[in-house]
Amino acid sequence: MSERVELLAALHWNMVPPFAQENPQLGNQVDVIGRCVAAQVRAVMPPGHQGSPIDLMLCSTVISGAITGMTSISDRLFNVIESECRQRPLAHLHTYMCAGWGYALSYFLRHTDSRLVMLSMVDVDVHDLAYHRAHTQIGKLGFAITTLLLGLPDDRIDKVRTGGPFGGSAFKEFVLALRQHNELHKPALSFIPFFGAGLSSIAERIIGAANLGVNRHDDYGHCFGSDPWIGIIEWLQRTPLRERVNVSAGMVALSGYFALCNVGLSPQTRIGSSVVNGRESELESEIAEGARLYTVAELHRKELSTTRMGS
């Protein structure tokens, strides 16, 4: 039995803005968000799962304050998700911003006996503000919906670390904590936020560029809480794992908090990703199509068998 948080499945949709602006009434947009989340939840659920519902929590940064601050709107979102995938979110965490998934994990590890959880990072901009396309400190911003299925270990102590509040952006404290974390856990790689050159060069200097996952900032922009999970998915798509490995997933919220987790990956980790246009018709097509995830072993079967034959 693993003694760390294990990534069992992950599905990422890179959301090309604007999001659902054909019918920009909030209720309609919330319904679309709910159907997107539900489609991802259905995809990451363990194949053939018939048991009791799996704990599900939503985490967001750039989503509208109306969705998490107005009870009627948050209820509407939860109702759509529940009706579409029979899993009602326990809560929506917004105030922690990009570090929300760390606080969600901390809750499940410390205050429940849960062994399987789903976290959905939901970051689309229903208001379609130009302000949300770039940040003075981070640079380009992107949008994403990413859902994870995580296995939690028996031993619940010190499996995720959250920190804050710190002055400034907390980036310095985050990078130093990551270095300390890596000395302890010896990860294969560390996956951190996609930031512009100013901040990312600090991480490269302290952690070592070769020890970091690819920074996709130029392509995607900073996609909020999803970044490290996008990095992990894309690394697994390129890397034929032969055995279980552990990596570091880290996230910083520039309001002064961070989250760090030692994450286990295996050839059986199921992954998927796609670029989804935010036009409502295209979103509905993606939802209707239903994502198919592949294990890392399935994705690299040919390479692995070729290597084995040659070795």
């Binding site: 602006q21 304050g65 998490t68 601050g69 326990l90 809560a91 105030t95 606080y103 379609d128 302000y131």
Partner: protein, 196 residues
């Protein structure tokens, strides 16, 4: 089955209850008379559709803004800290909190605090795994900016051993003891909210 009171001082709560709820409305700022930095700032809007979209936040509310978000978070942090000091056995605090505003204080970022859009389901989920000693804070304190709310507070202490200490704590708290529309509800062991 359920005991109610509109004062905190005369509540005869000792044993036999599994939870207690204090609710009411903040009618004044805990920081009245103290100058503070306004957090009112304009939205960075540029296009006509942005003004239209953000217009959804223009909702009339009867209750006034009585705190900045930084003051609200500081007040909630003090409430959590003082409750934990006064009432041994609080294992988890769950607070209703929507979108990000000011930087959160350390007491709200601890491992035994969760800030969620609605605390109720999180409390129920935690209890389903036989965990108790949960302090549930539902609040809709209006702050500067676009937050909705009526300055309501609903504080629920879950756990039989914590009922009496919580009532004592609330009765001596400078703001909780003076809430408008104050009510106290206790739930006997074996009953749920609303079972009478």
């Amino acid at each position: 089955m359920m005991y109610r009171s509109n004062t905190l001082e005369c509540a005869p709560l000792t044993v036999g209850f599994r939870a207690v709820r204090v609710s009411g409305r903040l009618t004044h700022s805990p920081y009245a008379g103290m100058p503070y930095l306004s957090e009112l700032r304009p939205w960075p809007l540029q296009q006509p559709h942005e003004y239209t979209s953000i217009g959804m936040f223009e909702v009339p509310y009867e209750q006034p803004v009585i705190m900045s978000s930084q003051q609200r978070d500081g007040w909630l942090a003090d409430l959590v800290t003082s409750a934990i000091q006064a009432i041994p056995g609080i294992n988890l605090t769950v607070i209703r909190m929507g979108g990000p505003e000011s930087q959160l204080p350390a007491a709200l970022l601890g491992q035994d605090v969760l800030l969620a859009n609605e605390p109720g389901p999180v409390v129920a989920r935690t209890q389903a795994d036989d965990r108790d000693g949960i302090f549930e804070i539902w609040q809709d304190i209006r702050t500067e900016g676009y937050s909705e709310g009526n300055n309501s507070l609903v504080l629920t202490m879950h756990g039989a051993a914590l009922v009496a200490p919580f009532v004592t704590f609330a009765a001596s708290h400078p703001e909780l003891s003076r809430l408008g529309d104050l009510s106290l509800t206790a739930v006997p062991a074996g009953c749920g909210w609303g079972e009478e």
